[in-house]
Subunit: 219 residues, 2 copies
């Protein structure tokens, strides 16, 4: 621990810590602070006080490092939305908090969020990455299933519903961190989207809405 804190090391010594972890953390830190385009392997190594070649003992190349950064991002995202759902006590209130937490994560870590979705990682097939991305998605599905059990969400295929909800929060998050939305309207749009999601997926008595053509019927 103390060894990881001292960035400069005495000549001739080895790192001896968890270098993979240290490299990953430093990469995340750099990306968060200055964006992906500012990330250079040489600078990461220099800041950790290791040689430039040391990185290749843990990552095949720069893309592999970015894949790990993205994987880490999905893990953090899952933790935060699950915490929001739990702390919110589940149900409709917890689900709203979950949606807000998702957008909040993207807004708090725009550059990191971009690495997760921005295509800088064509290694979309990486098993670890796929597992973590699927894990975050499953947290959403689980919240929907729980609400279905309580009669709060219609009995549609939860995976289908989750895809829709994901698209909305992801779309809002991307537009916000892209600066496409003015600051004044950001919060309003996010709340609006959350409400549209809730009213769009909520359970209701179908028979009382005669004029609405349901998605199932039109597919």
């Amino acid at each position: 621990m103390t060894e990881q804190r001292s960035r400069r090391k005495r000549r001739g010594a080895y790192h001896h810590g968890d270098l993979r972890r240290a490299l990953l953390d430093e990469a995340v830190r750099t990306i968060r602070a200055d964006g992906v385009e500012a990330l250079t392997l040489r600078a990461v190594a220099a800041r950790l006080g290791v040689s430039r070649t040391a990185l290749y003992r843990h990552f095949a190349d720069k893309r592999a490092l970015l894949t790990a950064v993205a994987t880490e991002g999905f893990r953090m995202l899952r933790e935060q939305i699950v915490a929001a759902w739990t702390d919110g006590g589940g149900g409709r209130a917890g689900f709203r908090d979950m949606g807000r937490a998702y957008v909040a994560f993207a807004v708090a870590n725009p550059a990191h969020y971009r690495v997760m979705f921005g295509g800088s990682v064509p290694e979309a097939g990486d098993p670890d990455l796929r597992r973590e991305a699927a894990g975050a998605f499953q947290a959403l599905v689980a919240a929907l299933v729980a609400q279905q059990r309580d009669g709060l969400v219609r009995a549609d295929d939860p995976t289908q519903l989750a895809h829709f909800v994901w698209a909305v929060v992801h779309g809002v998050a991307m537009l916000v961190i892209d600066g496409q939305l003015h600051d004044e309207v950001t919060a309003t749009v996010a709340e609006h989207a959350v409400e549209r999601i809730v009213t769009g997926i909520e359970a209701r008595d179908v028979s009382s809405y005669p004029s609405i053509s349901w998605p199932r019927a039109t597919l």
Copy 2:
């Protein structure tokens, strides 16, 4: 015209065409074929048969070129969704086509679409870029206003509604081109999203939905 087609030029000759346009087109072509990360100014110049320094007569730097690429992308996107709306005869059917056209553009030009939103262009303040992005958004607003006039969409603030619709189609588009959605479910999710948008924004008699808390009331 014919001169622009011959990529290789005789020694000592000038380009004498619309070099700016040629550089932009070649950049778009490269990005479409191989992605942004494969775009190098040297290769673009070489393929056009001009010197590497010629580019700097038209673009301040690489970022300026990418900004122009993004601007061009928004222009193309606007043209295609407006055409879909018009060809679809407006109304609810035209609006569905518009949504499909949006996602279709992203799917057909994933790398280009990413440049428009991927943050590779921190020049978000560029006036031309802002104007074209706003233009595409306005096409969406106009379609919503037209539907409101026909009583097809609720009388909420159209800009607000447009933000929501944009977030949904953008979210779906991003998830699809990111490979987060399996191919089999892509079309289904897109159609589901379009239907959710339509039913989520459609005009209906509020008095007959006593249990629904409307967004306005909760903001």
